[in-house]
C-alpha cells in the first residue's frame, strides 16, 4: 500500500486517538508536575443562623492575580510523586532508619497510603488472574464435553456473572456475606463463632474481594477458551485416544498447547483489568480494609477540596506500574509475532 493511501485510511482513527488518548495523557502528565498556588488566606467575620465568628477565608482578588499569571499553578517538579501520599521517599528512609526488625519496617511502610494501596492491588492481580484463567478453562472444558442439548443454557448461565453490572453483582455478594446474610450465617456456622463478621475482618474482606473478582471475570476467560476449543483439530485428539491417552493427558498435551496463545491474551487483558480493581471496593464499602490504586485516585477526586495534582501523580504511577507488569507478556507477544 502506498504511504499516502495508508495515511488516508488511518487518519480518522489516528485523529480520534490523539484527541481522546494522547491529549488527556499529556494533560495528566503536566498536571502531575504542578501544585495549586499559595492561597492568600485572611481572617474575616462570618455570620449565619448560629451567630458570628472569626473564620479564615481565601482572598479571591489576590489569588485571582496569581492564577492569571500562572494558570497551571506552581511548577513543583517531582514533589507530588515523592510526597507522603505517593512514593514517600522521606518517610521510607525514616522507617528504614528507625526500625530494628523487618516486621517493624513493613508495618511502617504499610501505614503509607500509596504502598498499602499498591500491595492490595498487586495481591489482587496476582491471585485473581491465574485463578480466573484456571476456572475459565475448567468451565470451558466441562461445557465443551456436555451433551449438545443443554450446551446453550449452560453457556448462558456461565456468562451471567460477566453480564451483571459489577456494582450490582458485588452488592449482591456484599449482602449475602453480611453477618445476617445467608453466606455470612454459613461462615459463622462453619467457624462455630456467632460473632464472626466478614466485613469486620481485613483478611476475610480481601478474600471476599478476590472471590468476587474471580466470579466476575471467569466467564470472560471461559468464552474465549470455549471459542478456542472449537478449533481443536479432532484428528490429533483421536490419534491421542488411539495411542491410549486418557482424558487428562489429552487436555494436557493436546488442548492446552493449542489454546496457549489465548491464555496469553486472557492473561494480558486480566492483568490490566485486575490492576484497575475498583467497583467491588466501592460496593463492599471496603475503605477500612483495602484501598486499590483506583479507589485511592477516587478519594483525591471526591473530597470537599479536590486534589487534581495528587490524583494525576497517582494516575501516572499507575500507568508506569501497568507498563512494568505487562512488559513480560508484551515481550512474549512480540516474539511470537516476529516468529510468525
Amino acid at each position: 500500500m502506498k504511504h499516502g493511501t495508508f495515511l488516508t485510511f488511518v487518519a480518522p482513527s489516528l485523529l480520534a486517538m490523539i484527541l481522546l488518548i494522547v491529549f488527556p495523557v499529556v494533560s495528566v502528565i503536566i498536571q502531575s508536575f504542578h501544585a495549586q498556588h499559595e492561597q492568600v488566606i485572611e481572617m474575616v467575620e462570618s455570620c449565619g443562623p448560629f451567630g458570628c465568628s472569626e473564620t479564615a477565608t481565601i482572598n479571591q482578588e489576590a489569588t485571582e492575580a496569581l492564577r492569571e499569571a500562572e494558570p497551571l499553578g506552581r511548577f513543583v517538579g517531582f514533589d507530588n510523586y515523592v510526597n507522603r501520599g505517593h512514593l514517600a521517599f522521606a518517610e521510607l528512609g525514616e522507617a528504614w532508619r528507625s526500625s530494628d526488625t523487618w516486621g517493624e519496617w513493613w508495618t511502617k511502610v504499610m501505614n503509607l497510603p500509596f504502598y498499602s494501596a499498591i500491595v492490595f492491588t498487586l495481591t489482587f492481580t496476582f491471585i485473581v488472574t491465574p485463578l480466573t484463567i484456571a476456572l475459565g478453562f475448567a468451565i470451558a472444558v466441562a461445557v465443551n464435553a456436555s451433551v449438545q442439548k443443554i450446551r446453550g443454557p449452560l453457556i448462558f448461565i456461565s456468562l451471567l456473572p460477566f453480564i451483571i453490572n459489577p456494582i450490582v453483582g458485588s452488592l449482591v455478594l456484599f449482602w449475602m456475606v453480611d453477618a445476617r446474610g445467608i453466606l455470612g450465617q454459613l461462615i459463622q456456622w462453619i467457624a462455630a463463632d456467632p460473632d464472626l463478621s466478614v466485613k469486620a475482618s481485613t483478611p476475610m474482606m480481601w478474600i471476599m474481594l478476590m472471590v468476587y473478582g474471580i466470579w466476575h471475570s471467569a466467564p470472560f476467560a471461559f468464552v474465549v477458551f470455549y471459542a478456542g476449543l472449537q478449533t481443536i483439530n479432532q484428528d490429533t485428539n483421536e490419534a491421542a485416544m488411539i495411542d491410549g491417552a486418557n482424558r487428562w493427558q489429552r487436555v494436557r498435551y493436546v488442548t492446552i498447547p493449542h489454546i496457549m496463545p489465548l491464555v496469553t491474551f486472557v492473561a494480558l487483558i486480566q492483568l490490566m483489568d485486575n490492576f484497575r480493581v475498583f467497583e467491588p471496593l466501592i460496593s463492599f464499602s471496603a475503605e477500612a480494609h483495602a484501598q486499590s490504586l483506583s479507589t485511592y485516585i477516587l478519594s483525591d477526586l471526591t473530597g470537599e477540596t479536590v486534589l487534581y495534582n495528587s490524583a494525576a501523580a497517582t494516575s501516572m504511577l499507575t500507568v508506569i506500574c501497568v507498563g512494568i507488569l505487562l512488559f513480560p507478556v508484551l515481550v512474549r507477544t512480540w516474539r511470537d509475532f516476529k516468529r510468525a
Binding site: Q39, V44, G48, S197, E287, A288
Partner: protein, 414 residues
C-alpha cells in the same frame, strides 16, 4: 473490557420548563433561567418544587447525592450550567474557594426585603448564601428498652457507655449502640463531633497548620473506640443509611443521628410498631467537662452562580426566595426540617435539633481547608478503630496526610 458503569446510581433529573407558567406562580413571576443543583432529601425537594412554581422562568433541577462533585464543575463554565447550588456550611467552602458564586447584597436589596436577617449567611460583610434549614446530629433512643433496663435518658457519652453495658449485660440487645462510623466521611464527622465536644481546636489559630495530635485528640479516639465495642462488628461499613436500617430493624437502642433523618425513623414505614412508636429524640450528647456538646450545627442554603447573566441571576434569586418563603410551610412540609423560615412551628421530630442549637453546639467550621482535614481523618482513622495502631500514631498519620494535601493545595508552605 471497558464497561461503562454509572457509579452512584441514577440521577434524579426533572425538567419542568415553561410548563410551570400554567400555574399562576403563587405570587412569583420572573423572566430568566433557573437551574438547581442540590442534595436529595425531602426538605430540599420541597424547596426546589416551590421555586420551580415561579411563573415565567425556564426552570430545571438536578437533585442528587452526588451534588458535591457536580456543583463546582457545573458552575465553572461561562455561562454556568447551574444558576444556583443548594449547599451546606461545609460545601459552600468549595464554591467560595473556586470563586463561582456571587455576593447577593444587591439582589437582596432589590428583591429580598422579606428575607429575615438570620437566614443570611455573610462572609466578610457580603451575603453569600440564604440558609433555609438547620440540621444537627443528636441522640435518638428507644424509650421501651431504656425503661426495661431501668435507665434514664443519657445526656453524655459516658452515660451512653454505662447504658450500653447495662442493656448488653441484661441480655436485651447484643449491640445496643448505633453510629454512622463508616470509614470515610462519616467516621471523620464522628471524630469532629467528639473532638469539639472535648473542647479541641483543629488548627493553630490564624493558620492552616493542623493541631489535633493532642490530649483531646487521644481522648476523642479512645471514646470512639469504647463506643464501637458496643456496636455491630461491621460498624466501619455503616453509613447513615445503614445505621438507620439497623435502627429500623430494632437492633439498636441508642445512637447519634442526623435530625433530618429522624422523621423517617419515627414514621410507620420500614419498621415494626414497637420500634417506631418508641423512637424518641433528645438533645446533643456531652463528653468530658468542656461544656461544649459533642456535635456540630449545620445549615442548608442556596447560592447564586457568578458566571450567569444579570437577568438569570435576578430570576434565580426571585424563584429561590419564593422557594424558601413562608408559603412553603404546610402540614406536609412542616416536619421535614428545622426550617429557618418565618412561620415555622417545631414538630416533635425537630426537638433534637432545636435542643442542640439551644445547648450551644458549635457550627461545622466554614474554613477553606477543613475539607482536606475531613478527608485525611476519613482515610487514616480506620486503622486505629480496628485496633491496628495507637491513637497517637493514627493522629500523627492524619496530620501527615493533611499536611501533604494542604501543601499541594497551597494552604501550607513547607
Amino acid at each position: 473490557m471497558t464497561k461503562f458503569t454509572k457509579l452512584m446510581g441514577a440521577t434524579a433529573l426533572s425538567v419542568v420548563g415553561a410548563t410551570a407558567a400554567f400555574a399562576d406562580g403563587h405570587g412569583c413571576a420572573a423572566e430568566g433561567r433557573l437551574s438547581i443543583i442540590g442534595n436529595e432529601f425531602p426538605a430540599i425537594q420541597s424547596v426546589a418544587a416551590k421555586a420551580l412554581e415561579c411563573s415565567g422562568i425556564e426552570g430545571e433541577s438536578n437533585l442528587t447525592a452526588d451534588h458535591q462533585s457536580l456543583n463546582v464543575p457545573g458552575m465553572t463554565g461561562d455561562p454556568a450550567e447551574y444558576t444556583t447550588a443548594i449547599v451546606a456550611n461545609s460545601s459552600i467552602v468549595a464554591l467560595m474557594n473556586e470563586d463561582v458564586i456571587q455576593p447577593l447584597d444587591a439582589l437582596v436589596a432589590e428583591y429580598g426585603a422579606d428575607i429575615p436577617d438570620h437566614m443570611k449567611i455573610s462572609v466578610n460583610g457580603e451575603i453569600m448564601a440564604i440558609a433555609f434549614m438547620a440540621n444537627a446530629q443528636h441522640l435518638v433512643y428507644r424509650e421501651d428498652i431504656l425503661e426495661q433496663a431501668g435507665l434514664d435518658v443519657p445526656t453524655s457519652y459516658e452515660e451512653v457507655l454505662a447504658a450500653a453495658e447495662a442493656i448488653r449485660s441484661q441480655g436485651i440487645l447484643d449491640n445496643p449502640l448505633g453510629g454512622a462510623y463508616a470509614a470515610g466521611w462519616n467516621l471523620a464527622q464522628e471524630f469532629n463531633n467528639m473532638y469539639l465536644g472535648h473542647g479541641g481546636e483543629f488548627f493553630e489559630p490564624g493558620t492552616a497548620k493542623v493541631a489535633i495530635n493532642n490530649e483531646q485528640g487521644v481522648a476523642t479516639l479512645e471514646m470512639m473506640k469504647a463506643l464501637s465495642e458496643y456496636m455491630n462488628p461491621d460498624f466501619l461499613t455503616h453509613d447513615s443509611n445503614a445505621t438507620s436500617a439497623e435502627w429500623e430493624a430494632g437492633n439498636v437502642a441508642l445512637m447519634n443521628m442526623w435530625g433530618s433523618r429522624t422523621g423517617v425513623l419515627m414514621d410507620d414505614e420500614g419498621s415494626a410498631e414497637e420500634v417506631y412508636s418508641n423512637t424518641k429524640v433528645s438533645g446533643p450528647l456531652m463528653v468530658g467537662d468542656s461544656g461544649v456538646p459533642a456535635t456540630t450545627l449545620w445549615w442548608d442554603g442556596w447560592t447564586v452562580a457568578k458566571n450567569i447573566s444579570d437577568e438569570d441571576a435576578a430570576a434565580t434569586f426571585q424563584a429561590m426566595a419564593h422557594g424558601v418563603s413562608s408559603g412553603l410551610l404546610n402540614d406536609e412540609t412542616m416536619g421535614q426540617a428545622v426550617w429557618l423560615i418565618d412561620g415555622f412551628e417545631p414538630q416533635e421530630v425537630n426537638e433534637g435539633v432545636l435542643a442542640t442549637v439551644a445547648a450551644g453546639a458549635k457550627p461545622y467550621p466554614m474554613v477553606p481547608f477543613q475539607g482536606l482535614l475531613h478527608t485525611a481523618l476519613g482515610n487514616e482513622l480506620s486503622d486505629f478503630m480496628q485496633g491496628n495502631e495507637s491513637a497517637e500514631q493514627a493522629l500523627a498519620d492524619v496530620e501527615a496526610a493533611y499536611t501533604a494535601a494542604a501543601i499541594e493545595a497551597g494552604f501550607v508552605t513547607e
